[in-house]
Symmetry: C2
DNA sequence: TTGTACGCGTTATCAG
DNA sequence: CTGATAACGCGTACAA
């Protein structure tokens, strides 16, 4: 019925032993080159393919990276920024011979923790793309010593690859001060569930202070979630609370910023005439929006690939176990939601 | 060193046999309820987690669905329409106890065919989200009898879940005729590598004919790829070829349509004053664009979930082996890139 | 309920 | 140095 071959069958057919076949396949141990070729050719002919689970079972390696993506935060694969990072990560690790699997906590009837899933799959490493950093399951997971890299949250003890938020915020605020020559600013931030957003807000306050901005809490609004609509609502809440329009709105996530712009348009507020808007991320649509969005470009390729490289280094050279924070440089992309002041 | 438990260890510690442990875990066979509870409690205490690969090795089932996504067509997870379908599919199958894995043809040094990968992983089924239908590897794969569902291409012999393109095109053309009251139309299509795009173009011709549109080939332009820029370029090519502006541009994919709109704006062509634009898909940004795009809404949730349901039915009840084509209804969403003619 | 063979590739050990 | 043998990893299923 199931006529699948295995190394035993093949060994018999070639008058060799199973271990020889294995050696030929994996290029390990000592084996005569001619024998190797003979095996390889035969295998190609008959179309034998080794079974992943048998190899994994024995070698205790799965060549699989578990990915935490979204579950809690209600952002799915639809979120273009994270998807893009994930795509780059995926490409990198596949080149290194690893595959990607989504960590899941509910499978059919079974409920399990992140960690249990990882044990079950024996993943070699973990990549946290987006996750709610208030999630206790995450802390359990990262405490277990499985190599782990994160691009979203800065948890102590995890290797983190993240955009240089300090540089980004600094670029924005200095640009506002030196080029736009404005001082009345307000901030719309992504939800508090993400550490990165928290960090950006904190940086706005500290850097803003040194630059002479007066960024009181009243001028900071946290969106409830990700996405266009959250931005729209956030802008609405913020502006109806303030007694006059800020000169510049710094929105710490592009997808929110687009919603913010929409709200301003609906209110017949001219951009950049009355309010200037600056985003963060440079998602694909930022440049295509009307008006095209001035923003901080995060280098998604770099983020994804660096995370991949770091994780695989960790897996293959476990001696480098001192947690590091990699900051990827960002860049200010000036488009049409801002306008430099005349000299 | 590796202190992981297995059913043998546990069996010994509880003075039971390995098979009893297995039964307790899987709730199969006959087993004393008290024994079962004892085992379950113990397992929870010591934190034992069964190993996926061992189970797979024995049971020859992997509870894994292989997904073909993009590889050839250069669209990645960034493509919001496909990502969204995939997300819904993923959710559905996870509820049914299956996991998703991306089918890959290059792993480290190893190059393999889709089919080889599937053998290696012993996937239970295959889901083709996007793929180049000229890809011969795809035909090899689907010919092997692994349960397979596609949402993109209509290959003979594969179960297909696809939006009702006929209904969609019909809705568009009738809307143009009856409400916009226009006859001069042109079409910008997605790349020929996708069967769905081909089908839409063909339908435009046939339905167009019965409605009295004169849609000659000169008025049909194929974009070179997916995405905003391809749409922009496509519009440019089309309009520079035609001697006068069409009244309505039907763009068979939203991401292209947004690029088309941008091109028209850059040319100072008023939408919908001079040219009206209709898209297809209803991606998230379609409604947020300026102007908001009139388009055909594909039901991504329905598509993804139906595909999931169909595939799992196929896996679990292999007797239903007559290939079917599921057409999911679509809907015309009227926004601001079109304008009804006065009565 | 329990014993045990099985699935299949890997690897340590051993003989030629 | 080449290749063979056998034990191993771990859960499942059927016979006892």
């Amino acid at each position: 019925m199931d006529d699948r071959k295995n190394i035993y069958t093949i060994a018999k057919e070639l008058n060799l032993s199973p271990s020889t076949i294995s050696k030929a396949l994996n290029n390990t141990g000592s084996i005569n080159e001619m024998t190797r070729q003979r095996v390889l050719n035969y295998i190609k002919d008959v179309g034998y393919v080794p079974t992943a689970s048998a190899r994994k079972l024995k070698s205790k390696r799965s060549y699989t990276i578990g990915v935490i993506f979204t579950e809690e935060s209600n952002v799915g694969l639809e979120h273009s920024f994270f998807s893009s990072i994930l795509q780059n990560f995926k490409t990198y690790i596949e080149n290194k011979g690893y595959e990607l699997a989504f960590i899941v906590t509910k499978l059919g009837q079974h409920q399990m923790s992140y960690y249990e899933w990882c044990l079950n799959k024996r993943v070699d490493g973990i990549y946290i793309v987006v996750g709610n950093y208030q999630d206790k399951g995450l802390y359990e997971l990262v405490g277990k010593g499985i190599p782990c890299v994160s691009t979203d949250m800065i948890l102590s003890g995890i290797h983190t690859v993240i955009s240089d938020n300090e540089q980004g915020v600094s670029l924005v605020l200095n640009y506002i001060k030196d080029h736009l020559k404005k001082t009345e600013i307000a901030v719309i931030s992504g939800p508090k569930s993400s550490k990165a957003f928290e960090e950006r807000v904190t940086l706005c306050k500290t850097i803003g202070q040194t630059l002479g901005f007066n960024l009181v809490d009243e001028k900071i609004e946290f969106a409830e979630s990700f996405g266009f609509t959250s931005g729209y609502q956030g802008a609405k809440r913020l502006l109806s609370r303030l007694d006059h329009l800020p000169e510049v709105l710094f929105v710490t996530s592009d997808d929110l910023a687009l919603g913010v712009i929409k709200y301003l348009e609906d209110q017949k507020i001219d951009i950049p005439g009355q309010v200037q808007v600056i985003g963060f991320d440079d998602i694909a649509f930022a440049r295509h929006f009307t008006p095209p969005l001035t923003t901080i470009r995060q280098d998604k390729t770099n983020l994804g690939m660096t995370a991949g490289k770091l994780l695989i280094d960790l897996i293959e050279q476990p001696e480098l176990h001192i947690p590091t924070i990699h900051k990827c440089p960002v860049e200010l992309v000036i488009r049409e939601t801002t306008q430099e002041a005349a000299q």
